[in-house]
């Protein structure tokens, strides 16, 4: 396994008599999105502040590429901190500065770039964060969601290699929450930085995280992928995940991944090995393109509208669905065999061709700039499941069988089935 970028070894932190972190051991790998989850007030932000040097451990060591921070020389330490950026939970925007000045500040104060170059970089970030209308406004004059985006733009304006996000989605509605997570994921893909995030947004963070770290009772009790977390057997799961995880995916109204699994197991209970069911795997392609052309909000609206369309079509026949990733959707038809499911999918495509694509297009583009549009590709694959088979193997089988079943085009649609 590759060497960790950042590592905590037996880190302990106390505030007076209160021990917040005790013998914390963790590894963060380069280029990944790592999310730290845990209940409020358990020391997640404290942990994050140790990484950026705002707090120092009372015991233990923090290593960067194997070198303890407390043994680094001045220049080496500055080079470590120069790679980082931090997005505060409360945004920490300078309230006496405009949005533009807030975003430009790190460049003005820490680089020798010319005014024109600084302006170019700041304008680019403003555009990406969809803040063009708020350039000359003060933080108190814009909404909480916009303030988050200003903080995000400021954190990314120096092109950092490591970005720390302290609860970036707090206080956001479901669409905005997913817009911010989508921005983080997109920026992470585009710029290749290492993202370390503290979040309560379960299950939303699973869609963009490579690794999850679980902080419980002052220690890290789990490190692994979101899939591995599903199999993790620990009181953390009952006490923390269940309390944080909403029963539904807030954006689409689908079951959360965990609830989906519970429903799946409940449907299979009492069935014989001969009873069959069908799983349909959908992918909504080119969402990245949509986000970069028309904004993250339009992207999330498209996901929401497509989710609603699936629910409308398959919900009536007893189907239940969940999201697998940002652009991946799974629907299980518990009472259908393969032939019947193919018939249902054909009817879905026909309806999609006649009306659905237009509805989704209108629904997702309602806030997009007039006259602008991006084509989306809809893929689907069907696999038959039966009692005893692992859900993941059925999902993989359906994913591999995916073919293009239609496109959501500007003003028209075309289907291929």
């Amino acid at each position: 396994m590759e060497a960790p970028l950042i590592e905590f070894r037996n880190v302990t932190k106390r505030f007076g008599a209160n021990t917040v972190l005790e013998n914390v051991n963790l590894q963060i790998y380069e280029g990944q999105v790592t999310t730290i989850i845990g209940l409020s007030g358990t020391g997640k932000s404290v942990l994050l502040k140790h990484i950026i040097g705002l707090l120092k451990p009372d015991e233990g060591a923090i290593l960067f590429r194997g070198v303890p921070l407390n043994e680094m020389k001045g220049a080496e330490k500055s080079s470590y901190f120069a790679k980082m950026s931090y997005m505060f939970q409360g945004n920490a925007l300078f309230d006496s500065m405009t949005v533009y000045e807030n975003i430009a500040l790190p460049l003005l104060e820490t680089t020798n770039l010319g005014k024109a170059e600084i302006d170019r970089r700041v304008r680019a970030r403003i555009e990406q964060a969809e803040l063009s209308d708020a350039v000359d406004k003060y933080p108190s004059e814009i909404s909480g969601g916009m303030q988050k985006r200003v903080a995000l733009a400021r954190a990314l304006v120096t092109d950092p290699r490591i970005v720390l996000f302290d609860e970036p989605t707090t206080g956001q509605d479901p669409v905005r929450k997913n817009v911010i997570l989508s921005m983080v994921a997109e920026y992470h893909r585009r710029f290749g930085f290492t993202a370390i995030m503290v979040s309560h947004a379960i299950p939303d963070v699973y869609y963009i995280s490579n690794r999850i770290l679980a902080l419980y009772d002052r220690r890290i009790v789990f490190q692994g992928t979101p899939e591995e977390l599903e199999e993790f057997d620990h009181p953390f799961k009952d006490e923390v995940i269940k309390s944080l995880e909403s029963l539904q995916d807030e954006l689409t109204g689908f079951f959360s991944r965990r609830q989906f699994k519970i429903r799946y197991l409940a449907e299979l209970a009492g069935r014989t090995a001969r009873d069959k069911f069908v799983l349909i795997f959908f992918t909504l392609g080119q969402l990245d393109k949509l986000a970069s052309s028309l904004g993250y909000e339009t992207e999330q609206e498209a996901i929401r509208c497509f989710g609603a369309y699936i629910e409308k079509h398959f919900g009536a026949t007893g189907g239940f669905s969940t999201r697998r990733g940002n652009d991946e959707f799974i629907t299980i038809l518990p009472f259908s065999d393969l032939d019947e499911a193919e018939g249902l999918l054909k009817s879905f495509v026909k309806d999609f061709q006649e009306q659905g694509a237009r509805d989704i297009q209108e629904c997702s583009l309602k806030d997009a700039p007039l006259g602008e549009c991006v084509e989306l590709i809809l893929n689907a694959g069907i696999a038959q499941g039966q009692t005893g088979l692992q859900i993941d193997s059925i999902v993989n089988a359906a994913r591999q069988k995916q073919t293009e079943i239609g496109r959501i085009r500007c003003g028209e649609n075309q289907d291929f089935i």
Binding site: G53, L54, S85, Y86, G90, L93, E109
Partner: protein, 283 residues
């Protein structure tokens, strides 16, 4: 009876003080306060030196000019008003005192020396503390509790260089200039009351006495004092705001309020103490 008394802070009665502890308690409290005081003094000294070092680092000019505008230019009106009436009261009181000895011709001397040596630097510093020093503490304190100073740290912007150094620079520029302005208007105030309103002193005599009784040393001593006061006020006010979150008596907005009060009170006291010390050294 004593055995029935329950200590509200320690209802279980564990850790009660014995007779030996009761004797040592006052010494413990004094020791603790002394250590805290020495710690604060050390922290303030390091704070001051780092902030002064920040003055000479790049990208400071614009921020310093902005602070000169806030601390200096925007204090002109209040300084003009206070100095005019100080000079007028001084002229009025001194005239009636001097006239008893038939020495009303010395009014210009008395007004000029009082203002240039003492009242000018001291009252200017106190007025700037009230107007700009309190604002300085409140602004920095709010930036502290809303994590804006932590944000500067994470952006590799030295908060002392960015926030404190320009304020010290601006104070060092503004205090002597405002003191000079105060002296001028104050002398004019003495002229208004002693010459124009009371009419007991000839205008030529008044200005001749002002001119002949003032040495260059009086003026430079006044400026030296104003520079000392500039360091005291900017340091105390910035320090109180910068460490508002470390206060043990309160938190959040209340801590900023108390820090502002402490900054103004402490600055005024230190101005008067320093005035005596500097005067005794210069005289």
């Amino acid at each position: 009876m004593a055995s029935n008394t329950i200590d509200r802070n320690n209802p279980s009665g564990t850790g009660r003080h014995g007779p030996a502890d009761l004797v040592s308690l006052p010494f413990t409290a004094i020791g603790r306060r002394s250590i805290r005081w020495v710690n604060n003094l050390g922290a303030a000294t390091i704070f001051l030196f780092l902030a002064i070092a920040g003055i000479f680092r790049p990208k400071q000019l614009i921020k310093a000019v902005q602070q000169v505008y806030f601390i200096g230019a925007r204090s002109v009106t209040i300084i003009a008003l206070v100095s005019l009436f100080t000079g007028m009261v001084l002229g009025l009181q001194s005239y009636y005192a001097l006239v008893k000895f038939g020495a009303q011709g010395a009014l210009g001397t008395l007004v000029a020396l009082s203002l240039v040596r003492e009242l000018g630097p001291v009252l200017t510093a106190i007025m700037i503390t009230a107007r700009a020093g309190s604002a300085m503490t409140a602004e920095i304190g709010i930036q502290r509790i809303s994590e804006q100073i932590d944000a500067l740290d994470t952006m590799r912007i030295d908060p002392l260089r960015y926030l404190i150094s320009p304020r010290i620079t601006a104070s060092l520029i503004s205090f002597p200039l405002l003191t000079a302005f105060y002296d001028l208007i104050g002398i004019f105030g003495g002229y208004v009351s002693g010459v124009l309103l009371l009419g007991g002193v000839n205008a030529g005599t008044y200005y001749y006495r002002v001119q002949s009784s003032l040495d260059l040393k009086d003026v430079t001593d006044g400026f030296i004092k104003s520079i000392v006061f500039a360091v005291i006020v900017s340091m105390v006010c910035s320090y109180q705001g910068y460490f508002a979150h470390m206060r043990t008596d309160s938190h959040g907005a209340k801590a900023v309020g108390l820090a502002t009060t402490s900054a103004v009170v402490l600055s005024c006291v230190l101005i008067l103490v320093a005035d005596y010390v500097v005067t005794s050294l210069l005289i």
